[in-house]
Every structure is written in structure tokens, then in C-alpha cells.
Symmetry: C2
Subunit: 339 residues, 2 copies
């Protein structure tokens, strides 16, 4: 199995990207193709003495950054000859030379490059970014969290089918419980998008529970939660921001507290760390961009080597589970008029 990894993706590229990819190659028995500036990749790669047959480097002379957006980004993404590390890596997937592509780069740039170079699969109009959220009892796949700020009910129904397949095949959840993120649990709650989508989901044949609020999501009441990319992004970022606010405030308060409280802080530090760890995106590594006719995983810009390594692990699981063909089949089966 071959997994292409964007060496120029993370905020501190290429070190975390290359180190994580090398660790994954050693640990998960996959061949990793590092894509990016060859010279810079080798600077990190050589001291690791990892240039065996499981690591290859494919040169890409350019890279996309946080500054790439709008029309200029679309033009770069569409350019026939691939020059950016994302375009080169995604073309490897398109041409069957890699089974998946992993990047920790600009999410919008990765979505645009995947959308324009590979496109969506039959029956899927828009792709959805589908990360895993921690819950009280396990995890939950939430989609879309940022690929499409404006969605129609049809998009959310397609997300539902894709998310359910992903939860079942990759996360190992039998008959995944699908729910719609809303501002109230009762049917009839929600904005226009949620109310319309609710009606369509009732007849989708999925294991559809109805609406959930964030509280139920985090209590583990559903395995797949649907939302438009704008609300999903606010949900994700609010969750991260509140967690940071709490951990930073606790740390500050303990530091300025009595000697006894400081001692207490030292004693509970491993416990607090383990809770922070639960909410750490490094554990999952990256989220799949479902609906693209090829496997693309997008990680956080803050990804460290462990996050990249985990992203390759999750990509490998998705390849092994044949998730693309399963989604194609389910879309054809559940939404035949569209496929």
C-alpha cells in the first residue's frame, strides 16, 4: 500500500510531516511517498537514516499556504500541470500511484485541489470534512466541519450516507446512529436547513435518530452527526477554544494559588494531561474529505509528528476497509436517483 504525504503541510513543515511519515512507514508497513521540496525533505530525512524502500520522495516545486484563497487558489488548483505539493500528491491518488493522500496544510487549499483535480464521486455534489469528536463513551464522526459553509438538505443527506459508511467500515461501528445537529432535540427545532433535512432523513433508510444538541453529541448519543460546514466549524473551534480556556485558566489559577493548591496541582497534573489528551486532535491525526473520488485526509496545521503518523494510520485503515467503494455502493443504493 502506498500513501502520499504532503511534506509541506504543517505549520512547522517539513519536519513534523517527514518525521511522522517515516515513523508511520516503519510502524504500519506502508510505503510512504513524501511530496514537496526535495532538498528540504532530504534535510530532515537523511539524519533519520530512513531511506529504505518504504520511503520515496516525489518533488513538487511549489506549495500552497494560508495565503492561497479565492479565485487565485481555484486557478492554482485547476492548473493542468501539477506543481504544488498538494496537486502532485493528489494526482498520485488520481492516477492510482498512491491509495491515499495526507496533508496538514491549508484546509481550503486541500479541498479545492482535491475537488478540481479528482472531483466528487457519482451522486455526491459536495465533499465533506469528517473528523472524529471525543465523547463520554467513545467517538463520533461529525460532518461537514468546514468544506462547505453553505449547504442544501441534499448535501446533508449525502453526508449522512458517507458518514455512516465511514463510521461502520473505518470506525467499526455496527448500524451507526445518525443524527442532525440542532438547537433542540424535538422535531421542528432547527433552522430551515435542519427542518428540511430532517424530513429527507426520515425516509433515507439510515439508522436516523433525529436531532441532537451538542450535549447529546458529547454524551455519545450518536455515531454520526450532520451539520453544514459553517456551523460544524464553529462547533469544532468553540470546543477547542473552551477546552483551552479551561486548561489555561486552571493552570494560571494553580500557579497563583496557595502552596497546598500548587502541590495539589502537581499531583493531579498527569490526570489533567490525560483529559487534555482526550481532546487532542493528534490522536486522530487527520479527517477524511468524504465524497471526493479518491482518499484525501486533512489534518490540523498544528499537527506534530505523532499527528502525521496517526493520519497515515487512519488513511491505511480507510484503504484496507475499501471505504471508497463502500461509499459508492451505498450512495447508489440509498440515493439511486442521484448516482
Amino acid at each position: 500500500m502506498k500513501i502520499a504525504v504532503d511534506a509541506m503541510g504543517s505549520d512547522h513543515y517539513p519536519r513534523p510531516d517527514v518525521e511522522g511519515a517515516v515513523a508511520a512507514a516503519g510502524m504500519y508497513g506502508v510505503e510512504v511517498i513524501l511530496v514537496g521540496d526535495e532538498a528540504r525533505i532530504h534535510t530532515v530525512l537523511e539524519p533519520l537514516k530512513a531511506t529504505g524502500r518504504s520511503i520515496r520522495v516525489v518533488h513538487a516545486p511549489e506549495m500552497l499556504t494560508m495565503d492561497d484563497k479565492g479565485l487565485a487558489l481555484a486557478l492554482k488548483a485547476k492548473r493542468k500541470e501539477p506543481r504544488t505539493s498538494m496537486a502532485v500528491g493528489i494526482d498520485l491518488v488520481k492516477h492510482g500511484e498512491a491509495q491515499a493522500f495526507v496533508t496538514a496544510g491549508n484546509t481550503g487549499a486541500a479541498v479545492a485541489t482535491a475537488y478540481f483535480r479528482i472531483g466528487t464521486m457519482a451522486g455526491v455534489e459536495r465533499p465533506a470534512l469528517a473528523p472524529v469528536f471525543p465523547t463520554r463513551t467513545g467517538t463520533c464522526v461529525v460532518l461537514d466541519i468546514g468544506a462547505n459553509p453553505d449547504c442544501k438538505p441534499e448535501n446533508l443527506v449525502q453526508f449522512a450516507v458517507m458518514g455512516a459508511v465511514y463510521a461502520e467500515r473505518v470506525r467499526g461501528v455496527k448500524h451507526p446512529r445518525v443524527a442532525l445537529l440542532s438547537n433542540g432535540e424535538e422535531a421542528g427545532k432547527g433552522n430551515t436547513l435542519v427542518r428540511e433535512t430532517h424530513k429527507q432523513l426520515l425516509t433515507s433508510g439510515l439508522n436516523y435518530l433525529g436531532n441532537v444538541e451538542p450535549k447529546e453529541l458529547m454524551a455519545g448519543r450518536a455515531d454520526v452527526v450532520l451539520t453544514d460546514g459553517f456551523t460544524g466549524n464553529i462547533l469544532l473551534k468553540a470546543s477547542e477554544a473552551v477546552a483551552s480556556l479551561i486548561f489555561e485558566t486552571v493552570r494560571d489559577k494553580i500557579q497563583s494559588a496557595s502552596a497546598l493548591a500548587k502541590l495539589g496541582g502537581l499531583l493531579v497534573r498527569p490526570t489533567l494531561r490525560s483529559v487534555a489528551q482526550l481532546l487532542n486532535p493528534s490522536e486522530e491525526g487527520a479527517a477524511p474529505l468524504l465524497g471526493i473520488d479518491g482518499l484525501v485526509f486533512i489534518g490540523h496545521g498544528r499537527s506534530d509528528a505523532l499527528a502525521i503518523q496517526n493520519a497515515v494510520r487512519v488513511a491505511k485503515l480507510a484503504v484496507e476497509a475499501d471505504v471508497l467503494n463502500s461509499i459508492r455502493a451505498e450512495i447508489g443504493h440509498r440515493l439511486p436517483s442521484r448516482a
Copy 2:
């Protein structure tokens, strides 16, 4: 000054509602009018021995509950003769017999009752529920967090003017910094609603900063943050849910940890409690429903007596600040074509 309080509002009505109102009357020198089932109110009131001139009871034979919604709710809210505690209390404001109404009841029921019985002020199409969020550096007014799941750009511009007046007059913030909640800070980020609203806010004359993500909101970068009622509700509930998830997980982990970590947990408990307290809605008590042509405050169903007491305190501040006339004047000044 007279403040009407819904005695039938909170989940555990009428005890927290009556006890909180009585405490507020004693502490803030206002006359409190308790509205609801007279017999039930007196059961709580009599042991408190508080029936002086600062507490009055106005009977309402019915109440609205979480089951009241949709068309049936609208019909009850519109009914000419006021029978529910919300309708009786809101009519006291409408007829000038109270300067504000406070309820911890069903938010949708309170919004509908206020909207149909008093209506919005000139130039304001939809009201907005505007609670205060804790931030690293203080607080931030966020609106709308639930009155209108679907908003137009014009609604958000009206919310901006109202939120800025409220922050300045009631929260004491000079030249409040106004921002738009979005999935990215750069102009051009956001869904269609955010992008259109951004254009209108640029020419509003307000101290408008542009977009903020939840991280910047919680870092204290803005004093007023605008969002539609659906996204705002998800933001609020996700924040509450993540905070609960963290505190419960920390508690569970400490309980099942080593004896030393348990000792540490005891020593840091006051610190953890003080952080949880920062995120506790009881501190603010209730959020104003801005845009209604009268002062209405809506608190959490879980409100305890302290929350009700604080809600009366905040309502008193709003009356003293003459916030209604200030909003009327600002709407007329900033959005003259609408007023």
C-alpha cells in the same frame, strides 16, 4: 423601580424564582412583582416572612411549559386576555406597571409572548437574545443565541447596533468592539449570511473589527459578537457541553486515580470550582431579549435562586441605564431608513 418576575419559570419553580426575587428585592432596593399561581407562590413566600411593601404577587392562572410550541404557542401568546404567567408579566411591562420582566421559563415561549404582546421597536425586525460569555479578559455579549434560527444580514446589523448599546450602557464598555462570528478571521470567510453582513457592517459606523473565530471570542478580542440564532445556540451549548465533559472527566479520573492524585484532587478542588464558576450562567442570571419594545430577560431553565437574584440585578442595571431609549435612539441614528 418595579421588576416583574415569572414565579413559574425555572425547572424547579416556584421555589428558586420566588427565593431569588425576594433576595433581590432586599438587596437591590427594587419592588418585585411575582407573577404566577398565587397559592403556590405564597407557599414559598410565607416562610420567608418577606411580604413587605417590596414584594407583590399578581395572580396568573396558567403557565407556559417546554411543551408549548409552534402554532399553539403563538395562539396562547397572542390571546387578548393574559392568562399565563409570561403574558401577565409581559403585559405589566407593556402597560408601564413594571419596568422589566424576568423569566427562567421556556425561551421560545418567552420570545413568542414578548414578540406578540409588546412587539419590536421601530427599525428592528427581529429580537435577539444576548447573553454574556466569559472570556480570558472579561466578558463578551453574544447575539443572537436562539431567538431567530434563520437570519438575514439586516437582522444581524440591527443586532450589532443593539448589542453595542447594551455593552456600552449596561456592561460599561466604551466604544465596544463589534465582530462577526465566522469560520475564519479574513474578510471573505464565512457563509453567505456572514459575507453579506460583513459588507453592511463596514459602513455601519460601528467600531467593527471584522470576523472573529470562537478562539478570539474567548480570548476577549471583541465586546459584542454577532451570529444567527442557530449558530449562536450551537456555540453556547457546545461551550457548556465541553466544559461539563471536561469537569466530569477530570472528576471521574481523579476518583479512580492513585491516592496521591486523589489528595491532589482535594487540594485543587477550590481552584477547579472557581474555574467552573466562571462558566456558570448563574453569575449573569439572564440574557436580555433586545429589540422588543420593553425590557425582557430570559434565564436558563436550570436557574437557581442566585441566578434569579442576579437576573433582577441585571434588569435593574438595564432600567437605570435607560437602555431602551438608547437603543431606540441608536437605531434611529445608525439605521435611519429602517426606523
